[in-house]
């Protein structure tokens, strides 16, 4: 609602200015710049990236708490970890030691620094999410191009597989597969990619199917363009916009997927910090009922990241929409 007067202003300004031709990319960027939600979510994502790369070792350095080190003085004699911003205990496990470095976001049940682990956990989330998304995009694009371009039996088989794959309880299968292949960063990445390639495949398939009959594509073919050139130079760029929108939201989904697998104990193996595992430690130990921040911190990190990717995906969809006149 508050956007309406602002739009009037800019369009009035554009009328006065000399008309300059703008490329589509410039138009999209200009729309994104005006979108508050897009800018905020990009800001959050930049912060997340900084936190994962530079922030994690910095936090470990300044608190003096490496991510995987157990501090027995951070857990009371009754087994309750210290809360947000508290000093660790003296050796007796009852009295505080005011000279020891605080744990800014408290400690977990094993006495590890939650802040440092959340920052290191962001690395895992980002690596798995982007890695799995990239892998699923490669597989999806190739199969989608094949199905859309060749048509016939190839298309029918690929289409049938994607339809079936989209309908069944993939999470359970993914958990099973993760157990069978064993825990590990690469394994988790591949498992997630295996269960998310069908969406890009569908997008690319439909674009290729409708695109191969377009005049300019036929013109390119009559000029002797090989199928490979037709597919990658002429047809694939048409799918770029939907793939970009989709890719953004699938990154969010894959972050959730990884957290879910780690939550169930089949993700990246401990002691490597990951958000899902921090959550499951808090929940399965029951300690989150006494100290909710144990579940609150990794949970909020997860929600904020997902929110940023989802909002960015929505804004990208609006900005890339050719029907949008702004």
């Amino acid at each position: 609602m508050s956007a309406a007067p602002l739009d009037l202003e800019t369009s009035a300004g554009e009328l006065d200015a000399p008309r300059v031709g703008r490329s589509n990319r410039q138009l999209v960027w200009a729309r994104l710049r005006r979108d508050v939600a897009a800018m905020v979510s990009m800001g959050i994502l930049v912060l997340l990236l900084l936190g994962a790369t530079v922030g994690a070792p910095l936090a470990a350095h300044f608190t003096g708490h490496p991510p995987n080190e157990l501090f027995s003085n951070a857990v009371s004699i009754r087994g309750v970890p210290i809360g947000v911003g508290e000093h660790p205990y003296r050796a007796d496990g009852i009295h505080r030691n005011p000279h020891a470095a605080i744990f800014p976001l408290g400690a977990d049940t094993l006495g590890r620094d939650v802040l440092v682990r959340v920052l290191y956990g962001a690395r895992i989330s980002l690596i798995v999410a982007f890695g799995a998304t990239g892998l699923s995009l490669i597989v999806g694009i190739l199969l989608g191009l094949l199905a859309g371009y060749l048509g016939g039996a190839t298309d029918a088989v690929i289409n049938r597989i994607t339809e079936t794959a989209m309908a069944f309880p993939s999470l359970l299968l993914a958990v099973g597969l993760a157990v069978v292949v064993g825990a590990g960063l690469i394994n988790v990445l591949v498992v997630i990619a295996l269960f998310s390639w069908f969406y890009p495949a569908r997008i690319v398939r439909s674009v290729t199917r409708t695109g191969k009959d377009l005049l300019y594509v036929q013109a390119a073919r009559t000029m002797g363009a090989r199928p490979r050139r037709l597919l990658f130079v002429h047809l694939l760029p048409q799918a770029a916009a939907p793939l970009l929108v989709f890719g953004t939201s699938i990154v969010a989904n894959n972050i959730l997927f990884e957290a879910g697998l780690s939550y169930l104990g089949v993700g990246v193996p401990p002691p490597t910090a990951s958000w899902g595992q921090m959550l499951s430690d808090a929940v399965n130990s029951g300690m989150y009922r006494i100290n909710p921040s144990l579940a609150l911190v990794p949970g909020l990190a997860l929600v904020l990241t997902m929110l940023a990717f989802n909002l960015l995906g929505d804004s990208l969809r609006d900005a890339l929409d050719p029907k949008e006149r702004r």
């Binding site: 049938r160 069944f168 009922r289």
Partner: protein
């Protein structure tokens, strides 16, 4: 209609064969390659080669792969899911009660999320860009970004555990020992319907939140699309009331699409319920599957996944048939 029915049912059979093949490949073929074979798991790490071969013979995993798979399919067709050596019971006797619990969670949550989604989504479509719409859309983005396995424990702290301790947000507002909602446990519907619903309120809420958000967006987009159609303008021009227009005309065009979407999501919902089940300790399929995975109980894992897959396919088929009944274009194959 009968041609549509036949085509759809044939498709379902292909889907079941395809899914069970994948399940089987994962748990027997891949498992054998990665050294996590069922026989090795049962016999133990220190077992002798002869003992492993004996277990393999018992499980039938010494046969060629294709023969094993055909046997597996044949048993499945007879409704026999195998035998759990950890529980010492037939897999069917474990899976069927578990499926009841999962159905309670998923179906109850589905009713809840559809009600919420239709309320929020149609309000947003009728009054786009109003304060209520902005609020609804914010809720939708938020709901899509909050994982079930985080909502569930948070809800249980806020509504179940903290009140029990007599405080909420650190304030002592209730006498200690007050129980608003049970944290966990499951009561069979047939034993006590009231307790059944009472124990499921939190799981339903936790599970419905995510889907309600996604479906609110669907409802809003679909309704907005319909509202820009010519027939709506005609109806308005002839003075039809807003309420009648929405329920009789717009609603009828939106409902079949929503049902189709619901059909594809039931499978996802079945799989996703394992988080809700594990947080609230509901002995459903997901919970059983996870504990079977932890116990390396391969027959039970395979049984649970195959069963869930078959149920998902059946649900899909039913939804498609209903969709075909409601929308002649689907039935006649013109929609594609």
């Amino acid at each position: 209609m009968s041609r549509f029915l036949a085509r759809r049912l044939a498709g379902s059979v292909v889907q079941v064969v395809f899914i069970t093949a994948i399940v089987w490949v994962i748990f027997y073929f891949v498992a054998a390659v990665t050294g996590a074979s069922p026989a090795l798991r049962i016999a133990g790490k220190t077992a002798s080669a002869a003992r492993i071969r004996q277990v393999e013979k018992m499980l039938g995993t010494d046969q060629p792969y294709w023969e094993q798979y055909l046997r597996f399919l044949g048993r499945l067709a007879r409704g026999d899911l195998g035998y759990s050596y950890v529980e010492n019971r037939s897999v069917t006797s474990i899976v069927v009660p578990a499926a009841g619990a999962t159905a309670s969670v998923v179906l109850g949550a589905a009713v809840l999320w559809m009600l919420i989604a239709v309320a929020i989504g149609s309000y947003g479509a009728v009054r786009p860009r109003s304060a209520g719409d902005v609020l609804g859309r914010s809720f939708a983005v938020l709901g899509m970004s909050i994982p079930v396995f985080w909502v569930a424990p948070m809800l249980s702290v806020l509504l179940a555990y903290q009140p029990t301790q007599g405080e909420l947000f650190g304030l002592h507002i209730l006498p200690a020992g007050t129980r608003i909602f049970p944290i966990d446990g499951y009561v069979n519907l047939r034993d006590d319907p009231v307790q059944w619903a009472y124990h499921l309120i939190l799981p339903w809420l936790a599970y419905a939140a995510t889907f309600a958000a996604i479906y609110a967006r669907y409802v809003r987009t679909l309704t907005l699309e319909q509202l820009s159609e010519d027939y709506v303008r005609t109806a308005e021009a002839k003075g039809m009331t807003r309420r009648r227009l929405l329920s009789r005309h717009v609603g009828r065009n939106v409902a079949p699409v929503l049902i189709a979407l619901l059909g594809t999501d039931i499978g996802i919902a079945l799989g996703g319920s394992l988080f809700v089940e594990s947080v609230f300790n509901i002995p459903g399929l997901g919970y059983t599957g996870i504990s079977a995975i932890e116990n390396l109980d391969y027959p039970l894992v395979t049984g649970v996944v195959a069963f869930a897959a078959v149920v998902a396919v059946i649900a899909n088929t039913i939804v498609d048939l209903v969709h075909g009944l409601l929308d002649p274009r689907v039935r006649l194959g013109a929609a594609h």
